[in-house]
């Protein structure tokens, strides 16, 4: 006698395999997400909350919710607008010159010459030195009374009198921007050199055969192929420079007379000199919004680049 076994229908799982697969994927992200939450999102939320309160540390009795009071004060604060203007000069002055000289450096180091490896290594030096040390070194170089820069310029006859580079409101910003350019050039050199090395030689050879000159090859081959790197490097550098307060803090402390005060150094001053954490919180939130705007632009541009690849 043959026994027939009826196949039992499989019990349907509570969660479909597609959802389960998705959940497993997301569960791998949970530790990283928690870390991000604790170290980025929560502090940002706390800073936003802080900006809505009168929070002067030595006046705990006055601690209270004031809504947008700190933001109103910020709009009416002429020093804030000055720092914002200074920030724009600081960021775009620094990054544009870093890019130009960095690109020139990368093109130079792409050429074959004796001692190229050594020169490439030396180029990195300004980037390797910590920002605070760079600030101290250049502060002494600029020193009007016994600094090397004045001494050399007077000796070669380019100047008659000593110039107080960091003490003159007209020169101080240019001087700190110059230092930042010196420090940031290696970043662009490295990034663009890596990009240049990835450009196939065949393209240049073919263009050369077709009669393209040096400028035409640069314009029609080098620049378009380096565009993704240029965009990424410039955008990240803009964001870093906007937040970068070390150099100015060490070299001028924002002076003279706020001539080099940028928004990030002004935030530090409000937080740790005036102990006005509410106002410093409002300044931080404005900085965050500016950064978000840059990040949005950056993401939009890089998305466009990905789509074209």
């Amino acid at each position: 006698m043959t026994m027939l076994t009826l196949a039992k229908p499989r019990t349907r799982p509570l969660i479909g395999w597609r959802v389960r697969k998705l959940l497993i994927g997301y569960s791998y992200l949970v530790p990283a997400a928690l870390c991000m939450l604790a170290t980025v999102v929560v502090p940002i939320m706390l800073a936003i909350k802080m900006s809505l309160y009168a929070d002067i540390l030595y006046k705990p009795q006055d601690y209270r919710f004031i809504g947008l009071g700190n933001y109103v004060r910020l709009v009416e604060d002429p020093v804030f607008w000055l720092t914002l203007r200074n920030s724009v000069v600081w960021v775009f002055g620094s990054v544009s010159l870093q890019f130009v000289f960095g690109f020139a450096g990368a093109l130079l180091l792409q050429q074959a010459f004796t001692g190229r490896a050594l020169v490439r290594t030396l180029t990195l030096l300004p980037w390797i030195i910590p920002g605070v040390v760079v600030g101290l070194i250049w502060e002494w170089l600029y020193q009007p009374n016994y600094g090397v820069i004045n001494d050399i310029l007077i000796r070669v006859g380019l100047m008659q009198e000593r110039v107080a580079w960091l003490s003159s409101p007209d020169l101080a910003m240019a001087a700190v921007v110059f230092t930042n350019v010196w420090r940031g050039i290696p970043f662009f050199v490295i990034m663009l050199l890596a990009g240049l090395q990835a450009v196939p030689d065949e393209l240049y050879e073919a263009a050369h055969v077709d009669g393209a000159g040096v400028f035409a090859r640069f314009w029609h081959i080098t620049l378009p192929l380096l565009r993704p790197i240029i965009v990424v490097a410039t955008a990240t550098r803009i964001i870093w420079t906007f937040n970068y307060a070390d150099l100015i803090f060490v070299m001028t402390g924002g002076g003279p007379a706020n001539a080099t005060q940028i928004t990030s150094t002004y935030t530090l001053l409000q937080a740790y000199s005036s102990l006005d954490f509410g106002y410093a919180g409002a300044l931080s939130v404005v900085l965050l919004l500016v950064m978000l705007a840059f990040t949005w632009l950056y993401l939009r541009t890089t998305k466009g680049l990905e789509d074209t690849e």
Partner: protein, 434 residues
């Protein structure tokens, strides 16, 4: 065997001991080996935050702490060194985070802010029953007293005076200024010292840090002005404006200051004098040790600030304090160490090594301070010493840095007048009185 060249074991030991004694005598006090009974296990720790960690101070503090730890068996002080530039931020973060050290070394202009935060321990009862209470100068107690509560022990006190180059005076054939010199005499000397073509200037004016405003404020007192009069801000009075204008003219009109003055801070004014760029500068006794090394003991001296048109003068007192926090876990240990640091030997060694002045009168009267020409100007300034008026409100210290310094820098550069500078500064101070 020739007896004259033989070296017995006894002779060798004698020679070695002699060499050791000579070597030890050559060591600084704090570098010398300290031999004492070992401390007991289980001593309760005392967390002590210490800023200004430059090599001499580190060696000195390590030695003093070791001596304290070996001198008793109940407490063990542990030093936490913090760079001076970050010390205030670290303390603020620790206080707001609820984990301050038991004890810290801070300047009295910070203590007001910390006290406003409700973080500082009231030590009035302990201080008044302390055996050396009456020996501490009354003005030193004033610098650490807020609302009739003593909140710190004054470890060292500072007063501002004028450093000047005695050797250059002789070179120029000028008469040595006397302690009762006047503004006019000060200006004559400053002008005589100035030779811009040789990169030499008469006066190292300070344009950076809180003291950029405090120094001209001292000059304002010499013109009969006050920062706070009858409970109201008076820093923009006519007397103050005139005094500030006279002070600013040193840079703008007479050009006896280096071109970098608007951003010169403590390091720059001290270095400029040490390198011969300036021949006078205003500072407390704290840089006298450095100038002894840089310029030479016999090439400079100090004087009190000059007498102004009102036939007055004032020098602001500041104290380097030892301050205990309310959140301290070991208050008794902290107090024991605070009082140890003001004992005769630690106080004497600390102050002589660093060129500071002790808060205790009996120690200040010792020849190490009273007969040192580099300190003469500061010792002579005691009768004109007043507690800094900027300690009156806890918010003023921070506002000087954030708002006052940019204003005085603008005035030093001729962008705004003395009147505009002081009117705006007075408004800022008034807001912080509420």
């Amino acid at each position: 065997m020739d007896e004259r060249i033989s070296l017995s074991r006894r002779k060798l030991l004698h020679a070695l001991t002699g060499t050791g004694v000579i070597a030890a005598a050559d060591l600084a006090w704090w570098d010398a080996p300290f031999i004492a009974p070992r401390k007991a296990w289980g001593a309760e720790p005392v967390r002590f935050q210490w800023s200004v960690p430059e090599p001499t101070r580190i060696a000195l503090m390590n030695s003093l702490v070791e001596r304290f730890n070996q001198s008793q068996k109940d407490f063990a002080v542990q030093i936490e060194y913090v760079p001076q530039a970050q010390a205030r931020q670290k303390l603020i973060s620790a206080i707001t985070g609820g984990s301050p050290p038991d004890l810290c070394q801070v300047w009295d202009n910070w203590v007001g802010q910390f006290n406003g935060m409700g973080a500082v321990e009231d030590i009035t009862a302990r201080a008044k029953s302390w055996k050396h209470y009456a020996d501490v100068a009354p003005t030193a107690w004033q610098t650490v007293t807020i609302n009739n509560q003593i909140i710190s022990l004054p470890l060292a006190v500072t007063l501002d005076g004028i450093y000047y180059r005695t050797d250059r005076l002789k070179e120029l054939g000028l008469k040595e200024p006397t302690p009762d010199w006047t503004w006019d005499e000060f200006l004559v000397v400053a002008k005589a010292f100035t030779r811009a073509d040789k990169n030499q200037y008469g006066y190292g004016m300070r344009g950076s840090g809180s003291w950029a405003l405090l120094y001209p404020s001292e000059f304002a007192y010499a013109n009969g002005a006050e920062v706070l009069k009858d409970g109201k801000v008076a820093i923009n009075s006519k007397e103050a404006i005139d005094a500030f204008a006279w002070y600013l003219d040193l840079a703008l009109r007479h050009k006896v200051t280096p071109p970098s003055a608007a951003t010169d801070g403590f390091v720059e004014i001290v270095e400029a004098f040490g390198r011969g760029v300036t021949s006078m500068y205003q500072h407390n006794s704290g840089s006298s040790g450095q100038q002894k090394k840089n310029v030479g003991v016999d090439k400079f001296a100090t004087l009190p600030l000059p007498i102004g048109p009102a036939n007055k003068r004032a020098s602001f007192w500041f104290s380097e304090t030892l301050t205990m926090f309310k959140g301290a876990k070991n208050k008794e240990g902290a107090w024991q160490f605070m009082t140890f640091m003001l004992d005769e030997e630690p106080s004497l060694k600390y102050n002589t090594a660093l060129g500071l002045l002790p808060a205790r009168k009996s120690i200040l009267d010792r020849p190490e301070f009273s007969r040192d020409p580099a300190l003469a100007g500061f010792v002579q300034s005691f009768p004109i010493g007043i507690v800094s008026p900027y300690l009156a409100y806890p918010g003023w210290g921070g506002k000087i840095d954030s708002d006052g310094v940019p204003l005085i820098q603008q005035a030093m550069l001729g962008k705004i007048s003395a009147r505009e500078c002081l009117d705006r500064f007075a408004d800022i101070l008034k807001k912080e009185m509420m």
